[in-house]
Amino acid sequence: MWDLLVLNPMINLMLLFYRFLGQQTILAITALTLVVRLAILPLTLRQQQATQRMQELQPELQKLQKKYAKDKERLTQEQMKLYQEAGINPLGGCLPLLIQLPLLYGLWQSIIRVLAVSPLELLKLSQNIYPFIPGLTNLIPLQSRFLWLDLGQPDRFFILPVLVVVTSWLSQKLLTPPTAAADDRSAAMSQQMQIMMPLMFGFISISYASGLSIYFIISNLITMLQFFLIRRGQRTVQGRRKE
């Protein structure tokens, strides 16, 4: 079912991009990443809005935490009341995230499958290609040479893993809202995640096909671009409100 609904459409779309973009694997990965990110853009926006609204409520929530520090039950009641008054669902940011994650995982899987690093992977790919689109099967295996890279192998010079770490750190930094000083533990956690997540992606880049690193870098760049565009949009709206 997963292959039918998620993996096969993505794989065949990537093969079509590959065919029409000069049989350049990097362009096919870029195009597929753009399309998937565009498709989940409404969900991303909703998630970011929910996160931002929760952020705006933080001062109020902290006041409540201090006020009812010894009465957890009352604290919960007051927090729920605050959410209701502000018209916020505290789990509102989770649902879009839950829908996005499988799609992003599918995107990751389809890139690995199409790159067919090993014979075992290539055999699996034979079951993912739509037979009703003529000529797709003739494209296999994809051209994997690009500059110094074999996209099916990790980057031997570690240039891509470094780029992955840098862009991941930048996008994490942009997306993580500043945490109030009063909440030391959250701040520490948040800082750790800002360091650990890029390192984790860097480690994956060292271990896996460099085509996947290309995906990480493009995805991070899109995240950053999206962030700047949304922030500019919000500033414009705020400016109009003030006027």
Binding site: S118, F158, M200
Partner: protein, 378 residues
């Protein structure tokens, strides 16, 4: 107490994250194969590349005669994937080994020649840029082998010195065992081409370009080569110049080499369709289907009474070559990685399975022995 809590708060999340990465990237132990293992049978002995070790087993009983290395040692040797035989002299095995340490370790293909009697290493080659996916072939004291780096390498079997002035380079990965006939070697490449090369010099004689990738060596019958491709077609080509005689279109990729009884060609595509075709014309005589992906080449029993088809998900099928009727099925755990026949027995190797090698009677599919044997596991 607060210090411990803070420490836990600081260390636990990154630890869990690293654990997740470790599991994701396979640091949890065990050998994760990148390709299939292989075995060959000769003179009552099976030589098997069995990931952690290369083993020689008694074909009648499955008893281990020798292993290389003596104990599994993946830090220095292996995993081993392919094995090729030069009768009574040497065994050529390939592995995909990691060099360098920790996060920065890189894998590369290694080719070794082992003494056939003892398994003692004779020479090795470590300069290939990629993985050796298929075994090499020997002709005129020359070993020819393809690599994922796109090169075809040749070696003098005695000392491992290069036989050509430089490797022959194709535009794609070479995942097929070369076919050596007389003074010519035929090489299938994922770049869609079948190359005919001079065995002595590596000079190209001709090439045939198929519509899709070629992952298996051709079958030779009289003066015709039969080779399957990822464009779903099976081609018959004149051996002299590579010109096409006929082509047959299946339902999906042809990965394995077809087999023949002299009058018919038997081939299977990866959708599990098995075809019997007339040698001269490529006309379809019958078509049957097994319920698994088929990658391995089909094989005929000694009297030509059973057509053996190996399913990728672990089942071995015996079909009637006359009409494709299913005679017997043997299902098993893991993926079937290779198959070889000798007299009345078929030997298979498996990956992702506890039973690595099995022997079955060809006529009825009855199990003869398994390796490792159940009592040896206890």
């Amino acid at each position: 107490m607060r210090k411990i809590k803070t420490l836990r708060g600081h260390i636990l999340p990154p630890f869990l994250l690293l654990l997740a990465v470790g599991l994701l990237s396979g640091c949890s132990g065990g050998t994760r194969p990148t390709t299939w293992t292989s075995l060959v049978v000769s003179d009552g002995t099976i030589y098997a590349a069995d990931l952690e070790q290369v083993r020689a087993l008694d074909a009648a009983t499955g008893e281990v005669l020798w292993s290389f290395p003596a104990e599994p040692n993946l830090r220095e040797y292996g995993p081993f994937y392919t094995v090729a035989l030069l009768d009574e002299e040497a065994l050529f095995v390939t592995s995909y080994e990691r060099s360098g340490g920790g996060f920065f370790a890189q894998s590369h293909g290694v080719l070794r020649a082992l003494d056939i009697e003892s398994g003692r290493p004779l020479w090795e080659f470590t300069e290939a840029g990629g993985e050796f996916v298929a075994a090499g072939a020997v002709g005129d004291s020359t070993l020819v082998i393809g690599n994922s780096d796109g090169n075809v390498y040749t070696f003098h079997v005695g000392d491992g010195s290069p036989a050509w002035s430089r490797p022959f380079t194709t535009e794609g990965r070479v995942w097929a065992t070369p076919l050596v006939i007389s003074d010519t070697v035929y090489v299938s490449s994922l770049d869609h081409n079948l190359y005919a090369l001079d065995l002595a010099t590596g000079r190209e004689r001709w090439r045939f370009e198929a519509g899709g990738a070629l992952a298996a060596p051709p079958l030779n019958l009289d003066d015709t080569l039969f080779v399957g491709s990822f464009d779903n077609k099976l081609y018959a080509l004149r051996r002299e110049d590579g010109s096409p005689v006929w082509q047959f279109e299946g339902e999906n990729w042809f990965w394995g080499t077809p087999t023949t009884d002299g009058t018919r060609i038997y081939a299977a595509d990866v959708d599990g369709n098995v075809y019997a075709l007339e040698v001269a014309t490529g006309r379809e005589v019958w078509r049957s289907q097994v319920d698994q992906t088929v990658r391995l080449s089909p094989a005929l029993g000694p009297e030509g009474e059973t057509l053996l088809v190996a399913g990728d998900s672990g089942s071995l099928y015996g079909l009637d070559p006359a009409d494709g009727f299913l005679l017997w099925t043997q299902s098993g755990q893991g993926q079937l990685a290779s198959m070889a026949t000798s007299d009345e027995v078929v030997y298979v190797s498996r990956i992702h399975a506890s039973e690595h090698i099995q022997a079955f009677y060809i006529d009825n599919g009855r199990l003869l022995w398994v390796y490792p044997q159940p009592e040896a596991e206890e």
